[in-house]
Amino acid sequence: MATVSSSIPAPQNAADESAPSRLRSTLHITWLRFLRSKTALVGLILICCLLATALLADVLAPYSPYAVDSDASLSPPSQAHPLGTDLLGRDMLSRIIYGSRISLYVGFTSISLAVFVGIPLGLITGFYGGKFDLIAMRFMDVILAFPFYLQAIVIMVILGPSTTNAIIALSIERIPTFARIVRGSTLSVREMPYVEATHALAFSALRTLFRHVLPNCLAPIIVAATFSTATAIIVEATLSFLGLGTQPPTASWGWDLKQNLTFLEMNAWITVFPGISIFLTVLGFNLLGDGLRDALDPRLKQ
């Protein structure tokens, strides 16, 4: 008996031992396919630059983003102020550098919160189904039924204007996206033989959900998170533009764009540069998202 049992390895052990090498190989293939797309690389470089700017803002910015200099009001680009100054004489380059922190902070935090709530919700509703699934998904439908911007504005009006509240509003809006993606994947994955095997082996529900179901739903989550970050950055800029998001004097691209719009005709640069920053950031996330989607899509395997 002992000989027989030792010669037949337990199925879970076999799966666990082969998992790292399989994961390495999957990541490697995905990375190779990602590298094939030049636009995806451009997106990655843009996001890396943005991350570096945000992390090194204290080193890169020549001035404090709040330093008022009345004598330098509305100065055109010069050696002292490469992107000019706004009405209060604040250095636009410094404000744009510090503004990247707000954009990334709001983008990453709001999407992380949405993922944190959306994934368990999608896993549970998809795996168990039943009344909870029905009620939770109808609730998600209600959230999705409202136009995105309108909903964000309503939430901001109720909660009051601030960066934190903008993050909460954006998270609430993105939860249904992740819950639905994960639920859809879970519904198909739960019928797979390896999930049935976990039942036969009496694995706990948590172990089944997070070790065997979730890893097989990750690809669409990563792609959706990337695109959602781009959307979150645009919505934050829009809310700040409307005076409902980040409050002055905090450096925010959306607010600076709105506040400097007054001077569009006389001093266009102070409006154009925050606009370009938003454009490049969102472009970066979208290109990255496109590249990841292509790289992670098994149907596009050659």
Partner: protein, 520 residues
């Protein structure tokens, strides 16, 4: 012996005729055409409360000005001028006022605007009492009585100045049709029926979009108005409204953002109007609660620690006046008090220290502002940087206008609030906010001295003595920093050069009865 002062009908008639003919010397007015106007806000929920309820907002006044007349109004020289009353007498140093009305004046609904109708309006106002937000101006009014069909007498409880309030405070007391108020019941304020140069039909009104006024063919002033129609569009974005003016989509822009003035100055075929400020940019300090219940903190933060000159230079690009006095420079009897509070951060720090604040216990407060005008946040940001220099921490909270007004005017739920507030004729107009217990005492002022001076001003028939009282009041406000103005709030209006006969009244009135279009 009763003193009788009499303002002759000759003066009155001259004032009246000055309005249309003043502009007609060079060119003969042409009748017809539509004036396209842009306002930054809608009229207040489409309601014309005639000042008998809550404050309706400036846009509503400026529409109401053209639908209604008052007994008296302000002429081009900002002096009291005839309107429905062709002349008047002031009896007993202001104990009684007798108004001689124009004859054969009809409301838009065809009923007579005679002494009975005028009395009805005054009775209605007295009866509503404190429900009317301008009640404090008229609380000394006792009754109105009909002398004959075209003569009305207003009796006061005690001698008091009545004419400035009737003529110019927030659109004065517009005379509406009693029949229409009866006909429309609860909805009376959505159906304004006056005697004015233009008529209003609620069916033409599109909330937040369009207000239409049409010519009153039975207007009692001969030959007026010239325009057939006025279409007022609501364009909230100042950049969009300025572009609409420059591209001739509109003929008249009610308010130009001060920061856009250099562009309008360069625009061809556009007339830009301005005058010394009548409205201040105010930082209300709520004296009901800390930290502004302490006079030393008010003097430090609203006085020596606030660099008004820098705000005027930077935010308004030198188009505004630094302002310590409660009165802006364009208002009658203004006194320049800027030397009372020169910018002196060290003195401000010393005052704060005296009040128990220092690096370990800094003054912290929230400044409430709205996003109606871009210069609010610019001024607030600049002030924040100035306050950092005296160790004061100010947090900015920006809200949309309705939410802002609810916290600021409705609940007094603020520490400091910024707003450009009330275009003034004189200091008495500001007194709506001076009295303890008054709903419009937004800052929580509790000063028997100011109340006494206000009543003294109202009872004083002599203009020179009223000037002295006005000066005393300005000094009293500044001494304890009971009212914190930052700068004047400059007002600019612009219109196409083919718009003729319009007289700029620096926010007090926007009237088009004499306006005409000089184009094919």
């Amino acid at each position: 012996m009763k003193r009788r002062s009499f303002i002759a009908g000759v003066t009155a008639a001259a004032g009246l005729s000055a309005l249309p003919w003043r502009f007609a010397r060079a060119e003969t007015p042409k009748s017809g055409g539509m004036l396209k106007v842009a306002y930054a806000s809608d009229i207040h929920s489409g309601r014309f409360t005639l000042n008998r309820e809550g404050p309706p907002g400036y846009e509503t006044f400026w529409v109401s000005n053209n639908i209604h007349n008052q007994l008296v109004t302000l002429g081009p020289d900002y002096k009291v001028a005839p309107d429905l009353a062709q002349s008047w007498e002031v009896l007993g140093d202001g104990a009684e006022y007798v108004f001689n009305l124009h004859e054969n004046v009809k409301f838009h609904d065809g009923t007579d605007c005679d002494a009975e109708a005028v009395k009805w309006n005054f009775d209605d106002m007295i009866q509503r009492g404190k429900k009317s937000w301008v009640y404090v101006y008229f609380n000394q009014m006792d009754s109105a009585e009909v002398v004959d069909k075209h003569t009305v007498k207003v009796k006061m409880k005690e001698p008091a100045a009545l004419l400035p309030a009737l003529a110019g405070y927030f659109g004065g007391v517009p005379i509406g049709s009693p029949t229409a108020v009866e006909k429309y019941g609860e909805e009376w304020n959505r159906h304004p029926v006056g005697t004015g140069a233009f008529t209003y039909d609620i069916n033409d009104y599109r909330p937040d979009e369009k207000i239409v006024l049409k010519k009153n063919p039975n207007y009692f002033k001969p030959g007026l108005p010239y325009l057939d129609e006025i279409e007022i569009s609501v364009i909230k974005d100042p950049l969009a409204s300025m572009t609409a003016l420059r591209t001739k989509q509109i003929d008249f822009l009610q308010r130009v953002n001060p920061q856009h003035v250099p562009i309008i100055e360069r625009a061809k075929g556009v007339v830009l109007e301005t005058a010394p400020e009548r409205m201040p940019l105010v930082c209300f300090m709520n004296m009901r609660k800390p930290p502004f219940d302490d006079v030393r903190v008010r003097q430090a933060i609203g006085g020596f620690g606030l660099n008004r000159k820098e705000v005027a230079q930077t935010v308004f690009q030198n188009r505004a006046t630094p302002l310590v006095s409660i009165l802006p420079p364009g208002v009658q009897d203004y006194l320049d008090l800027n030397e009372m509070y020169p910018y002196d951060p060290e003195k401000a720090k010393a005052l704060l220290k005296e009040a128990g604040h220092g690096p370990d216990n800094p003054v912290e407060f929230e400044l409430l502002l709205n996003n109606d005008a871009p210069f609010f946040s610019d001024a607030a940001t600049l002030m924040k940087s100035q306050y950092e220099k005296i160790g004061v921490k100010m947090k900015l909270t920006m809200m949309d206008k309705p939410a802002f007004l609810d916290r600021f005017l409705g609940k007094y739920d603020y520490q400091m609030a910024m707003e450009d507030f009330g275009a003034l004729v004189d200091i008495n107009q500001r007194s709506v906010s001076f009295f303890r217990g008054a709903k419009s005492n937004y800052g929580g002022l509790e000063s028997p001295e100011i109340e006494d001076l206000t009543m003294k001003w109202r009872r004083e028939p002599d203009e020179a003595k009223r000037t002295e009282i006005t000066h005393d009041m300005q000094r009293a406000f500044a001494k304890d920093m009971l009212w914190c103005n930052i700068t004047g709030s400059p007002y600019f209006q612009a219109y196409q050069d083919y718009v003729k006969g319009y007289h700029f009244m620096n926010q007090l009135y926007v009237r088009w009865e004499t306006t005409w279009l000089n184009k094919a």
